[in-house]
Amino acid sequence: MNKLLQLLSTNSQFSTAEISAMLGEPEDYIKAQIKEYENKGIIKGYQAVVNWDELEESYVEALIELKVAPKKETGFDEMAQMCMAFEEVESVYLMAGVYDFALIVRGETMQDIAMFVAKKLSTIDGVLSTGTHFIMRRYKDRGMILTDPESQADERSLIL
């Protein structure tokens, strides 16, 4: 796997000097590579992994299963476009298996999401059925463990 991208995808806060040391490549080269990835849209952006559950703010996420009838001309793409357009929708994935799309939808309350599904998603022409799964607790997100700080503590003994 591409080491530079792998490194940035685990932590985008390393300086180019640090990355240059870690990968054994000149810093200018690293800078140029990152620029190129950004220009080509391979690096889409840099976001913090937030543990929203720790905040007081009300916040709900749900995974929505969508079964759809693909369009003759555009297949699944047109449906994906329509789903993506909603700002409530965080992620859109085309799936292999018993349903076609998996959507991650966020809202302030469960009611928000229920209404969104009922009024906006299921009414799209071509949507055959929906299934809503609320996310109760996030244990691990994008490779990071969000819960149980004790499991992260260094338990190694100092021996010898």
């Binding site: 080491k3 390393f14 640090e18 040391a21 870690m22 260094d154 190694r156 100092l158 010898l160």
Partner: protein, 394 residues
Amino acid sequence: MDYKKYLNSSIQSVSPSGIRKFFDIANEMDNVISLSIGEPDFQTPWHIRDEGIHSLIKGKTWYSPNRGFSDLLKEVTSYYERRFSLTYSPNEQALVTVGGSEAIDLAFRTLIEPGDEVIIPQPSFVCYEPLTTMADGKPVIINTKNEDKFRLKAEDLQAAITPKTKLLVLPYPNNPTGAIMERDDLEQIAKIVIENDLLVLSDEIYSELTYGGRNHVSIASIDGMYERTVVINGFSKSYAMTGWRLGYALGPAPIIDQMTKLHQYGIMSSPTTAQYAAIEALKNGDRDVKKMRNEYDMRRRLVVDSFNDMGLSCFEPLGAFYVFPCIKSTGLSSEEFCTRLIMEKQVAVVPGNAFGKCGEGFVRVSYSYSLNHLKTALGRIRDFIKELEDGNKG
């Protein structure tokens, strides 16, 4: 009661490990960032743990055969064949032990006669000298040097040999320096070993952790050395399995036979659950090893680069997970450096002289920590060096 007169005098003459003292200080302080631990920070890969658990579920809770399960012995020998081109008979030339450490102890006690001299290159892991003493051998220390990248030089070996020399300990890839021995180096050592009719104990516990595209070379694979070498290895470092306590020895059947006898009476057999897990490690763990090695490699580069940048010269270690920067430029001794670093910046590293007198002027820094942890710790060390320099000027 005066226990001194009851206690064995050899064990009383052995001094406690020098690393301990710093660990005691570190344990008592809050907010200490440690760079002192000598074991992987990774947990044992899940599929390996799962096999251990599965063996328990199936009720595999009995002793194993003295030498170890035959499946494990087969996996160990086929691993050495595939990785290091060395062929051993699983039933005659291999023994599964409680960590590499037990195997080292067995080899010493099996080979050393009272008064035999054992050559030990230092800085090195702390066990060789006391275990030699306890086997009635006489440790003869060779001081390896920074300018030789802490490799054992043939001329130094030659100079240390006397008519009483029996055994050479070859601890590479090395803890604490991170030094390795390449084929050229080993060929020169082998020549002298053969000329002087010596045996070699090759401690290869860090054999999977070599960097820069250099594969570990076992001295047993050099012409004429196979019959003179006891290879020690284990699962702790390569598969992040320290707590499972499992290692092994490979070597000539007559030596392994005697070691097995000692193991049989002293230990009986190595832990059963650990052996089931280890079979899985050798069968399906290559990917994990590679992944961990790549991760260590990035950390290694970051740490070496940082120390050189701070002005503490640091040769590039090509093995294990330690760097061994020289701190002589600070004007402090290793102990002073470590004590002040922990007191003033709450960062724990180990004084180099804990691994032999010639480690004075150096410190051992473990990079068996996450990149973020390393970044924080290195930042504190940088501040410490800066303050020292400012203090020296003022």
